[in-house]
């Protein structure tokens, strides 16, 4: 049988990073082929190449229906039959379902006058093919995330897509909604549409895939049929990463409890979360994307108000309603998105580091003592080895790793008792990763208590003293970091 799409020897280099190196991928019509790999394996880069967002390096080939081709841009990808269901769906919340499904075609055909009857008919037809029970007249933003996703899929179907790429499609869906999605995928198969599925949830991968391809660190590892491999085998292909971090775990626990969280719940975010954090401890929290990790720690930092439960700091009830009261209570939070939440990119390193603790440099009349600020900031830039060593540079002029060090510096400088670090090495190159791990450990040794959230299991295993696993908003497992394997943790994280 003829493949719909075949990709060979594709590489993609970004300044300083090789995101993909000589990878292979192919897919047949009517097949569900899952691309598997940990964060940073190169899955999204490949998707972006297939959808025309990135151009690959010279040397590789892309064939569609056997013919060699190039995918110039996003429109071109659609024209050649490839549609991507992005995590944000690229839909218009303010418009009707029908319009969201059909508008691409109207634009493509350059029809200046709209025939709503036809649009509704086409939309209804596409919705029927995917088996979605949604009124074409409904405004999109009134639909649940799951239904919006169905609309996005229906839109791809309406555009006569021959291959639909689904990037983590189940991360925001409930169990019943996931079942519906499986049903839709079956219907797409019946229409002879190829589905490329990206996920790292084991049960769903085995449930719907016909074939797997595993990527690791931007490299092609292996492709195999579902029957040829079991769950354990797939996990070990995925997680058997070459990069291993030195284990920095400290087995001795200080008995002093700094933070005590009991029965913390918030509807639609997390439920009945209880744990303790000891002095000088690094508590790792892991779980799949969408397990409620960030939502939970954001509640501790006053960004997300819980419905019930209590938080005690040093044995005293703490009321954290907003970020400034969290800072006053001695909590620091290093968010997942450095670019939008962690840093003010077009301000200097110095201004960024000084921001959470301006009070410290402020005299009696509210004026900032710039000399003192410069000295302190300079000290931290020096201590954390931020390069280039110039605190007057704008934050956006630094590399990812150095930006992350700036975010760390800004919170360490506050002398926070409790530091919450969400994905500490997201988008940071390997060398800087270990450096950041060492900084975290040093902090713990100096008596700071840390909560480290990470989806990267090697990282969690390298830095944590204790590990909590979250699944669907609850804590599903707790481990002391001794003789642990990635498989053991993964087992608690996935929904079985």
């Amino acid at each position: 049988m003829q493949t719909f799409l075949e990709i060979d020897h594709i590489s993609k280099t970004f300044p300083g990073v090789k995101a993909l190196s000589d990878v292979h991928f192919d897919i047949y019509p009517g097949e569900v082929h899952s691309l598997v790999g940990e964060n940073g394996a190169g899955k999204s880069t490949l998707i972006k190449i297939m959808s025309g967002v990135y151009q690959p390096d010279e040397g590789g080939t892309i064939r569609i229906n056997g013919k060699e081709t190039k995918i110039h841009n996003a429109m071109d990808a659609i024209r050649q039959g490839i549609a991507v269901i992005y995590q944000d769906f690229s839909l218009f919340g303010n418009l009707s379902v029908a319009e969201n499904i059909v508008i691409n075609q109207v634009i493509e055909k350059n029809r200046q006058v709209l025939n709503w009857k036809e649009i509704r008919k086409k939309a209804a037809e596409a919705l029927r093919i995917v088996g979605a029970d949604i009124s074409p007249l409904e405004t999109l933003e009134n639909l649940s995330v799951a239904k919006q996703q169905m609309v996005a899929i229906a839109s791809a179907v309406a555009q006569k897509a021959q291959m639909i790429i689904m990037d983590e499609p189940t991360s925001a869906l409930s169990t019943t909604e996931v079942e519906t999605l499986y049903g839709i995928i079956e219907k797409l198969k019946a229409e002879n549409i190829a589905v490329m599925f990206v996920s790292h949830k084991m049960d769903e991968l085995f449930r719907i895939s016909d074939r797997f391809t595993v990527f690791r660190d931007g490299q092609y590892i292996r492709s195999c049929k579902k029957e040829e491999i079991d769950r354990g085998g797939l996990i070990s292909l995925m997680v058997g990463r070459k990069i291993e971090f030195d284990s920095l775990a400290n087995p001795v626990q200080n008995p002093e409890v700094v933070l005590e969280v009991s029965h913390l719940s918030k509807k639609g975010n997390f439920k009945d979360v209880s744990f303790e954090l000891h002095k000088g401890e690094i508590l790792g929290i892991t779980g799949l994307v969408g397990a409620g990790r960030s939502e939970m720690v954001q509640a501790l930092f006053g960004l997300n108000r819980p419905d019930s439960g209590s938080v005690k700091i040093d044995g005293k009830e703490a009321h954290i309603d907003n970020t400034w009261s969290a800072v006053d209570a001695g909590i620091g939070y290093i968010p997942e998105s450095r670019q939008t939440q962690g840093l003010v990119l077009d301000k200097s390193v110095a201004e960024n580091i000084a921001l959470p603790q301006l009070k410290k440099y402020t005299g009696k009349f509210g004026f900032v003592n710039r000399k003192k600020q410069k000295e302190t900031v300079g000290e931290w830039v020096e201590k954390l080895d931020v390069r280039p060593r110039n605190e007057e540079l704008l934050a956006m002029q630094l590399s990812g790793g150095n930006q992350q060090k700036v975010v760390l510096a800004k919170w360490i400088a506050t002398n926070a008792k409790i530091l919450i670090v969400d994905e500490p090495t997201n988008g940071v190159d390997v060398g800087a990763k270990s450096e950041i791990h060492k900084i975290l450990r040093q902090l713990a040794d100096q008596g700071t208590s840390l909560i480290v959230i990470s989806s990267e299991l090697p990282e969690i295993l390298a830095v944590s003293d204790r590990i909590l696993v979250m699944r669907r908003g609850r804590i599903s497992g707790e481990f002391v970091n001794k003789d642990l394997t990635q498989e053991l943790i993964m087992d608690k994280a996935v929904v079985s």
């Binding site: 690229s90 634009i107 709209l114 975010n269 439920k271 397990a291 669907r472």
Partner: protein, 323 residues
């Protein structure tokens, strides 16, 4: 069906219009007299026409404060054409609309090509255009309009003033453009998400430019309609008009953040402002109170909208929690 109708923003405004109308009608019998209603509609047709022009701008997430200057320019040009050359009504209308379109084109190009924010760009053209008008006219009135134009101003069709007919016609045209043309849908798409609009293939620069051209054209039309009502041209009379126009559209449910707004809402917004002003006049409340009431309505209307949205955000389910 009924439920979804009730949930709509337009329904809320409609109910407010009805309640205010009932209150005024009970307290003053003049309000419901046909001549009063026709009078109210006629005198508010100018602001109504301009509000329809402002609507696409706000839907797309922009703003146009230059309309008050542009209407002055169009009115002066129309007046001069009428008095000096004695041009016929049709020519005057075309010229006035074309002049409005030209100012709109300038706004649209500055905003879409030079990426200057709409508020600043239109503040700039507002100053330039008004300066030009006043330099040209020295603020002098044009009063000696020809008789046949004056009779056009008082013309009626089946008892309804011609200005109201024009307003109603423009309601239909705007509604059709916004609902049935690709450009009209593009206006909503840009307001909903500019990046998604680019991704699905809309020519965002072109649509943005056309939006301001449309606004300019409605202003050109409004200029002739205004002149036909007051039967003279005072270039200074339009100062601050842009705020009234924007207020009508905002009360009608459009947000300056873009993405929302409808012809129905805007018309209701215009009606709300119109009957309120009329009510205050009928109740012999000093006109000074108008501004206070209008200001309060704007602040409350936009605040309630945001509060509702915040509450919905808070309820959003982010994690599928295992119960």
């Amino acid at each position: 069906m009924v439920k979804s109708l009730v949930k709509k923003r337009e329904f809320t405004i409609f109910m407010i219009v009805v309640v205010i109308a009932v209150v005024i009608a009970i307290s003053n019998s003049v309000f419901l007299r046909p001549d009063n209603i026709i009078d109210v509609l006629k005198s508010n047709s100018v602001i109504g026409i301009m509000a329809l022009g402002m609507l696409p701008v706000l839907i797309s997430g922009g703003i146009d404060v230059s309309v008050s200057s542009t209407i002055a320019l169009c009115a002066v040009i129309s007046g001069k054409l009428l008095t000096i050359s004695g041009a016929n009504l049709f020519v005057v209308l075309i010229v006035s609309i074309a002049v409005g379109a030209a100012v709109g084109l300038a706004n649209g190009l500055i905003i879409s090509k030079l990426k200057i924010s709409p508020i600043v760009a239109t503040l700039g053209t507002m100053s330039i255009v008004l300066g030009a008008v006043l330099y040209w006219t020295n603020g002098e009135w044009i009063t000696n309009l020809p008789e046949d134009f004056k009779s056009f101003g008082t013309a009626t069709v089946a008892g309804i003033p011609i200005q109201v007919i024009i307003f109603i016609a423009l309601i239909a045209v705007t509604a059709l453009i916004l609902k049935y043309t690709l450009v009209g849908r593009g206006v909503y798409a840009i307001g909903g998400s500019t990046s998604s609009a680019v991704r699905v293939g809309y020519n965002v620069d072109k649509i943005q430019t056309l939006i301001y051209v449309f606004t300019g054209m409605t202003v050109g039309l409004a200029a002739v309609v205004h002149t036909s009502i007051v039967q003279q041209v005072d270039p200074n009379t339009f100062t601050g008009l842009e705020m009234d126009v924007i207020a009508c559209v905002v009360i009608g449910g459009a947000s300056t953040m873009g993405g929302s707004g409808s012809v129905t809402g805007t018309v209701l917004g215009v009606l709300l402002m119109a009957i309120m002003k009329n009510g205050l006049i009928l109740a012999r409340i000093p006109t000074y109170w108008q501004d206070i009431v209008v200001g309060l309505i704007i602040v409350f209307a936009v605040s309630i909208d945001v509060l509702n949205r915040n509450r919905e955000q808070e309820k959003l389910v982010r994690v599928d929690v295992e119960e």
